[in-house]
């Protein structure tokens, strides 16, 4: 059962021929093999890894999306709105859309809050009678202007860029806010 022992092993390979240039030649061949192997690995590996990680740096173009006419929002009210986000892939299903809380401050003044708690991103709920946003996850609470009222959130609710375009209110698609910060429009 000791077949393996009979396999020629390179423990002491060609010791008699090792004089002269042999060790150098072997070192060279080993280095050559490592080098070639490394080259091939990089040749394929770099583009593959870059492709897998590309979401880290690729930016999507920002678009203004209408969320309704100006008249459909009452002054002093906060309502949830939906809009198509910056990566509406055909197979994304409901994930094509994002939500925001739109508050009409005055005649021509709107605020679009992100729905994500600045603590860990859970969807905050607007409680119209209490006039506060409350987070179901860890009890974060925000005032109607998005400032932190209680709980663990480190920052106010982040805001999306919002504008009035003709009769419509428009929100600019932006990356998901991370820890209460929406990346600046580029």
């Amino acid at each position: 059962m000791t077949d393996r022992a009979k396999t020629p092993m390179a423990d002491n390979p060609g010791s008699e021929r090792d004089q002269g240039g042999e060790p150098k030649r072997r070192t060279f061949l080993a280095m050559l093999s490592y080098g070639l192997g490394g080259f091939a690995a990089l040749l394929v590996g770099v583009p593959v890894v870059a492709d897998v990680l590309k979401s880290m740096w690729l930016k999507k173009p920002r678009e203004w999306r209408s969320v309704g006419t100006v008249d459909s929002f009452k002054v002093g009210q906060t309502v949830p709105v939906k809009f198509e986000n910056s990566q509406p892939d055909a197979w994304a299903g409901s994930a094509r859309q994002s939500a925001a809380y739109l508050r009409r401050q005055g005649q021509s003044e709107f605020i679009a809050f992100t729905v994500n708690c600045s603590h860990l991103g859970c969807p905050v709920r607007w409680e119209p009678k209490a006039e506060m946003f409350m987070c179901p996850c860890h009890g974060g609470v925000y005032y109607s202007d998005g400032d932190v009222a209680a709980g663990p959130p480190p920052r106010p609710l982040a805001r999306y860029p919002v504008r009035i375009n003709g009769k419509n209110v428009e929100i600019e698609t932006t990356p998901l806010p991370i820890n209460g910060r929406v990346p600046k429009p580029s």
């Binding site: 994930a95 859309q97 991103g121 209490a130």
Partner: protein, 468 residues
């Protein structure tokens, strides 16, 4: 006939000769039932591969269709339903067994020389197992899953400098989208299992090479110079072949485990799917599965200013702390009774995790959105102003965090008998100005509202004379 075939194959492959020494290697006598958790983890992993591959026959990893395919798996066929259930309880078993395996190797100090690398690879395997659990939960792709991705991305976002990039990687883009689920599928089905396999190979090989650690004895410290020789002598003196003298326990325990998994799968069924995934449906309470639930509690209750440090530093410190243990304690006593610090730290960790687990079952920090208005029997016979106050207590959200006579939330103090503790003026001041974890209602409620609320709260006192 069979023996001749076997001999023919063996002569050409030599696989038997390769495996025999592994199976027959000598192990110390007295390797008791405490040594079965490692192999149980391995069996659970194999079970996960088998059931996972089978599930992938039915599952559609598409953001728009995954939920439907999972509903189909869960509802349309008893066998699919069973399969998903086994996969869930198998995951739970694997995490439980990893935990017990780690607990045993830590308490017996099996990580000391020459088994340091076994422990270190095990630490990475532990985190990979948890990563498998989390990514698997995401594949359910229901409301809870998609919001858990967001929560995961936010946590990654707390990492200094590269946080934003890590968060975008978790989302596979700028927001939840078509690429998100595909990436989690690839991680769960290919990347993490392959990494686990790649680390499992040396992890298991080292068991054969170094042998399992003998049961520790008091006053018998590990010394690097003499350990291997002593271990060899021990084996030759009283060692028994692993197969079948020790292996039968592993087999019996694993069979028991699998029987329990199958039993639970039939009796309990797979975890319920939440509502269909929709980033614009804002009624969602993302929550990790049971093995990470306690950590969710930690994040709610730590002092708020520490949040970024705990989210980044916590897991990192746990990983590094575990990883380097064998580098700092490579020699010396192994018996737990001679290592009070080891026992102490295990107790602290168990109590810590245990209490946060218990808290996480009722989440006292979460507002109770569904709390009903206070019933008349609780409000009692009070003035009209106080009656209005009782209504406001529910409508204006007080009840979501405060409790009265068993109704409402737990975040703030219980107000059942607040009339005994605070005067009307003190209450008015607190409601208007707020405090730590208490919003200030001065700009939200009219002074009339506050007066009504206070006159209601003033009536909250224990009844001196009971009605009958």
């Amino acid at each position: 006939m069979f023996r001749r075939m076997n001999a023919w194959l063996e002569e050409r492959t030599g696989i038997g000769a390769l495996i025999a020494p592994v199976m027959k290697h000598l192990v110390p006598r007295g390797s008791s039932w405490l040594y079965v958790f490692g192999s149980a983890t391995l069996f659970a992993f194999i079970l996960q591969i088998v059931t996972g591959v089978a599930l992938s026959f039915m599952y559609v990893p598409s953001t728009s269709q995954a939920y439907q395919s999972l509903k189909f798996i869960t509802e349309n066929s008893a066998l699919d339903h069973f399969l998903r259930s086994v996969h869930y309880f198998g995951a739970s078993a694997m995490i439980l067994m990893v935990g017990l395996h780690m607990l045993r190797t830590f308490l017996f100090a099996s990580y000391k020389y020459p088994r340091e690398a076994s422990w270190m690879s095990g630490t990475v395997l532990l985190f990979l197992t948890i990563a498998m659990g989390f990514t698997g939960q995401i594949l359910r792709w229901d409301q809870t899953a998609i919001w858990s991705v967001v929560v995961g991305a936010q946590q990654a976002g707390y990492v200094p400098l590269i946080g934003g990039a890590l968060a975008r990687f978790m989302l596979a883009g700028e927001t939840l989208g078509g690429a998100t689920l595909g990436q989690f599928f690839a991680l769960h089905v290919f990347v993490f299992p392959i990494l686990i396999g790649a680390l499992l190979a040396p992890h298991l090989w080292m068991v054969v090479r170094n042998g399992i650690s003998e049961p520790p004895r008091q006053g018998k410290p590990v010394k690097r110079e003499t350990y291997k020789q002593e271990y060899d002598e021990l084996l030759h003196r009283e060692g028994v072949p692993f197969w079948p003298d020790a292996a039968w326990r592993d087999v019996l325990f694993a069979v028991l485990m699998i029987t329990v998994i199958v039993g639970l799968a039939i009796a309990v069924g797979p975890p319920k799917l939440a509502a269909a995934p929709d980033p614009t449906n804002l009624v969602a309470t993302p929550k990790p599965d049971w093995y990470l639930l306690w950590y969710f509690g930690v994040l709610a209750l730590i002092p708020h200013l520490l949040t970024p440090y705990v989210i980044v530093g916590g897991p990192l410190l746990v990983f590094l702390g575990l990883f380097v243990i064998p580098l700092f304690a490579k020699e010396g006593e192994r018996h737990p009774l001679r290592r009070p610090w080891a026992i102490g730290s295990v107790i602290i960790v168990v109590v810590f995790i245990g209490s946060f687990w218990w808290l996480s079952t009722w989440e006292p920090w979460s507002p109770r959105f569904e709390a009903p208005p206070l019933p008349t029997r609780v409000v009692g016979q009070v003035s009209p102003a106080a009656e209005t106050g009782a209504k406001l207590f529910h409508d204006r959200g007080c009840e979501e965090c405060h409790r009265i006579a068993g109704f409402g939330g737990f975040r703030g103090p219980d107000l059942t008998y607040v009339g005994n503790r605070l005067t009307g003026i003190e209450m008015t001041w607190r409601i208007a100005n707020g405090g730590y974890n208490m919003p200030s209602f001065g700009s939200i409620l009219s002074s009339q509202d506050i007066d009504n609320l206070v006159s209601f709260l003033e009536t909250r006192k224990p009844k001196l004379t009971e009605g009958n």
